[in-house]
Symmetry: C2
Subunit: 297 residues, 2 copies
């Protein structure tokens, strides 16, 4: 596929993804309340940055981006389940997300936990069901291994554990980096690497793209921390300055605001450097990288 | 392998399984508290009925039972995560399980939720990592599909949802059967079918074994309900009569105690009838079936 602009690429693929999420949940033979709870959070919007990374990576290899649809949906389900569980009263206890009531405020804690469990479980099934013309069996297994490592105890769950455990202490920059690399970075990396695996990339390219995603993930989080200080509440959808109120360790609190901006820029540059080494058609991935540096929500 | 008796088979394979669970969690590169929380519940004992079904099914085909070790560990992780989440205050709110404090009473609700998430996620990785000499890539994918369907919205999670939704109404026998077939039956069926898939069974044998497991699962649950009325507290590890106190729909409440015993016996007989049609070496599976009819905990 050719795209006139990044925004037409993003629009086309967000629509494809959202249709796939809707159809995948609707076809489940299950009590309607669990399907409603799953869809409620899947359809709550969001930047869909992870799926777009998978599609853009496939594009960079000159591959049919539709190859990535199932794994993109799977990764978005994992991301969504993690938000549902993170928002629970026993975790972050958030009532609102993106201006909407959180899952447990609508469906109750029990169904929110179960909706998260169901999304997590379904994500692996989706990958196992990728059409054979898009991936052979060993490719699907490689994707499943990537996703389980990225989202489990060695990845996202481990990062969330470290985040909670870290609430009671003064965080070092190393602690903060561990949390973000695991809590958000690993799944972003998985989004990129999954696209590369589907494209049949060699180990060298996969490593370069993983490095790209590592820096992109840290940039993403530093930008998040800066927005918490400088963002416009109506745009970011949550209270400005909430990190400081909650006494959360952030890049600006450890590096000063200017230092955090400098670190953001450094990671963006390093991300692009890795990208350029791949020799791929990186235009879309570069646009996503620029958007992450400058995003206002 | 040959076994002198069912009990030597069970002992050998429980030991193998428990070693595999321990090693698998210990080798994770993750914050120690999440590994401790995962192991706490994995090592809380239990009958290990699901793994034993997988091993006994492989035995019935004359296969090396060690082929089933990874999938048995995966299924036990899924079972364990479901217990951790079910015990949470927002679900069944249980403080004790098998005489030990429940996971969230020891680690707190947040880490209990995350330990469950990590176990669920890891189970799919374990199957993807089955050694190639035991299963080719498409066999592993078939196992992953089975497990995700059995444990997700169309299986165990769906059953738990129906169970919670049913707490406020008078259950019919159909409602009760839906709950149990999904909440416990699907994962038991998956344990048997996974053994058959690993043995390279044809569709006809898989269907017979699935039918066997369907009846076994219902028998298992009816026996549970009977034990709640007739069991010895010290042996079953929970208060006798708790279902009645909690006004839970049970087989004895719908069928009378004698009716429930008759239904139990019918399902046991039907389970054995299906087994015999397979033409396999069913001795171990028959012993498990008999134990389920007569078990006292």
């Amino acid at each position: 596929m050719l795209f006139e602009s990044y925004s037409s690429f993003a629009k086309t693929h967000k629509d494809l993804l959202e249709e796939k999420l809707r159809v995948s949940v609707n076809k489940l033979v299950a009590p309607s309340v669990i399907k409603e709870a799953m869809l409620y959070s899947l359809e709550a919007g969001g930047k869909r940055i992870r799926p777009l990374l998978t599609f853009a990576t496939l594009f960079s290899f000159g591959e049919d981006t539709r190859k990535g649809l199932m794994v993109a949906a799977a990764i978005e389900m994992i991301h969504t389940y993690s938000l549902i569980h993170d928002d629970l009263p026993s975790m972050d206890n958030d009532d609102l997300r993106r201006g909407k009531l959180t899952n447990h405020k609508v469906f109750g804690d029990a169904f929110a936990i179960l909706a998260g469990d169901a999304l997590l479980t379904y994500s692996f099934q989706l990958i196992a069901e990728i059409p054979d013309e898009y991936a052979d069996a060993s490719t699907k297994l490689a994707l499943i291994k990537e996703l389980s490592k990225a989202s489990g105890a060695e990845g996202m769950v481990g990062g969330q554990v470290a985040d909670i455990a870290g609430e009671e202490k003064e965080l070092s920059l190393n602690d903060l980096e561990y949390i973000h690399v695991h809590k958000t970075g690993k799944l972003l990396e998985c989004s990129v690497v999954s696209g590369a695996i589907l494209a049949g990339a060699d180990e060298e390219k996969i490593q370069l793209l993983a490095q790209f995603a590592y820096h992109l993930g840290l940039a993403f989080q530093i930008r998040d921390d800066i927005l918490d200080l400088e963002g416009v509440e109506e745009v970011i959808g949550k209270r400005v300055g909430s990190d400081e109120v909650n006494n959360k360790g952030t890049y600006p609190s450890l590096l000063t605001l200017d230092g955090a901006k400098e670190a953001l820029h450094q990671h963006i540059e390093q991300a692009k450097t890795q990208l350029r080494k791949t020799g791929l058609n990186i235009s879309l991935l570069e646009e996503i990288t620029d958007l992450i540096e400058t995003r206002d929500h």
